[in-house]
């Protein structure tokens, strides 16, 4: 049986090897299946974009101009994303496709509709209103920020040239 002092020493030893434990965990932890995930993302993202392309071509066929086609396609894709979220299907697509499901505009729609559904129970103001942009919020903030920076560079570039 170890004395209390000996135990103290041992505890100290363990403290010092904290870094070793982290290394051990990193070594042993099962990693993500990158190849499988990349293929699934490619298929899912490709399928979603193909649907978008089909909608675009159909709209064009009906004689819509370029601008109308672009915005109408986005609107329809956002609707599809929201609808599939509402009927509990989009989370399954996301589970399979990963980034392939979250990067296209349907994923953006999913990231807004899913918290809106989830937090309905906390009311329309503090629930849906406050939590709706829980996931999409950062995307919007930094997306808009990046566009401002890009615009600034573009402006300066034009002045210089």
């Amino acid at each position: 049986m170890l004395s209390i002092r000996q135990r103290g020493v041992e505890a100290l030893k363990r403290q010092l090897s904290k870094h070793e434990y982290q290394k051990l965990v990193d070594e042993k932890a099962p990693g993500s299946h990158y190849v499988r995930n990349i293929i699934a993302a490619f298929i899912t993202g490709g399928a979603i974009c193909s649907v978008g392309q089909i909608i675009m071509m159909v709209l064009k066929n009906f004689g819509a101009d370029k601008e109308t086609t672009a915005s109408a396609t986005s609107i329809i894709m956002v609707f599809i994303g929201a609808f599939l979220t509402g009927i509990n299907i989009y989370d399954e697509i996301g589970k399979f496709g990963g980034a392939g499901a979250s990067v296209p505009i349907t994923g953006f729609s999913n990231s807004i509709v899913s918290p809106a559904m989830e937090f309905k129970k906390e009311g329309h103001v503090m629930g849906v209103g406050a939590k709706m942009f829980l996931i999409a919020g950062p995307v919007l903030v930094y997306g808009i920020f990046a566009s401002v920076v890009a615009g600034l560079f573009y402006f300066i570039w034009k002045q210089v040239m």
Binding site: M1, L2, I4, R7, R14, K18, H19, Y21, Q22, L24, V25, K28, A29, P30, G31, S32, H33, N37, T85, G86, N88, Y90, D91, E92, I93, G94, K95, G97, G98, A101, S102, G107, N110, S111, V113, S114, P115, M117, E118, F119, K121, L134, I135
Partner: protein, 335 residues
């Protein structure tokens, strides 16, 4: 009176008896390998309530009533309820027991809550302060997901080390006398933080705590692994169990085939798609209150070291870049 052994272990004199136990779980757990041991399986994740939080309270309360029925005691005999859960401010438990008219102590030990409540109740009974106590804990996949992760319908992938929060509650009635397995010894655990930051790898964060508590228990009592029929950890899962074995092996302690983990018992991790296994307060609570008590009743096991493990994190501290402190409390249960 109880007496202390070594620096961390407490040997109980009166040895409180586990009179009965009950466990109610959700559908996914009901499809798992332990299905036939549960008292009830609820198919509806809302259990007829309006919110997941209310559903969790409902399951916990129903489990308590079931355990009480099985013990043959009435609510009037119960002197105290010790319960806890994962929700902010432990509301699943406090709302579950708000109108039962029994003194209540709310506990937070994350997923180690069940062994924490057993340990405290055992000491209260041993000291003569309490005759009969309820020890219970609960968790709900949906209420935990929305607090700790993403909305349910958000499409995201889980990492391979992630664990699945068990929907369910377990409750046992502990008494000063009666028929059943006895709690003879407890080793409350220290908070151990080995610097794991990944909230999706809680098994790795908790394994050092389980290691520390098991080792302390063995040192304090002078026992070795062969003296137990089973050493049951709470929710280390597949990866955490590997780490625990590894840490013990480095200290020349071989678990052999004695080690089981509630998170691995409750689900078929290959078939049910739960990555590294189950987790949550309800996980160890429900496995102990149903399957394990059943093993005791059949006489399959006679001495069990129950070591429920908890990751004492909050989403806020993780976002602030903090590491995850782990804890594990050991309760020795003997037939």
């Amino acid at each position: 009176m109880a007496k202390r052994l070594g620096s961390q272990t407490i040997v109980l004199d009166k040895q409180p008896v586990i009179l009965s136990g009950a466990g109610i779980v959700g559908k996914k757990e009901g499809d798992g390998p332990l299905a036939r041991y549960f008292d009830d399986v609820v198919d509806d994740e809302y259990v007829g309530e309006k919110t997941f939080e209310a559903a969790e309270s409902r399951i916990l309360r129903d489990t308590y009533i079931k355990a009480l029925e099985k013990s043959g005691k009435s609510a009037k005999d119960i002197n105290i309820i010790l319960s806890g859960d994962l929700l902010n401010q432990c509301t699943a438990a406090s709302y579950a027991f708000r109108d039962v008219d029994i003194p209540y102590l709310g506990l937070f030990g994350a997923c180690s809550t069940m062994s924490e409540s057993l340990a405290i109740a055992a000491m209260l009974i041993d000291s003569g302060s309490v005759d009969y106590a309820v020890c219970a804990a609960s968790s709900h996949f949906c209420s935990a997901e929305r607090q700790f992760r993403y909305p349910l319908e958000f499409g995201s992938q889980r990492t391979p080390t992630a664990q699945w929060t068990v929907t369910g509650a377990g409750a046992v009635i502990l008494g000063k006398e009666g028929q059943g397995p006895r709690i003879t010894c407890i080793t409350p655990g220290k908070i151990i933080d080995e610097g794991i930051k990944d909230a999706n790898n809680m098994g790795a964060a908790m394994a050092p705590a389980a290691f520390d508590t098991i080792r302390s228990h063995l040192i304090d009592t002078g026992r070795n692994v062969d003296d137990f029929d089973m050493i049951l950890t709470g929710d280390l899962g597949k990866f955490g169990s590997t780490m625990l074995r590894d840490l013990l092996k480095r200290n020349n302690i071989d678990l052999k085939d004695k080690h089981k983990d509630c998170g691995l018992l409750i689900f078929d991790i290959e078939k049910q798609g739960v990555d590294c296994g189950g987790s949550g307060c309800g996980c160890s609570a429900v496995v102990l209150s149903t399957y394990i008590l059943n093993l005791f009743m059949q006489g399959t096991i006679k001495r069990l070291l129950f070591v429920a493990t908890g990751a004492l994190l909050s989403p806020t501290r993780i976002q602030q870049g903090e590491t995850i402190p782990g804890i594990a409390h050991a309760v020795l249960i003997e037939a």
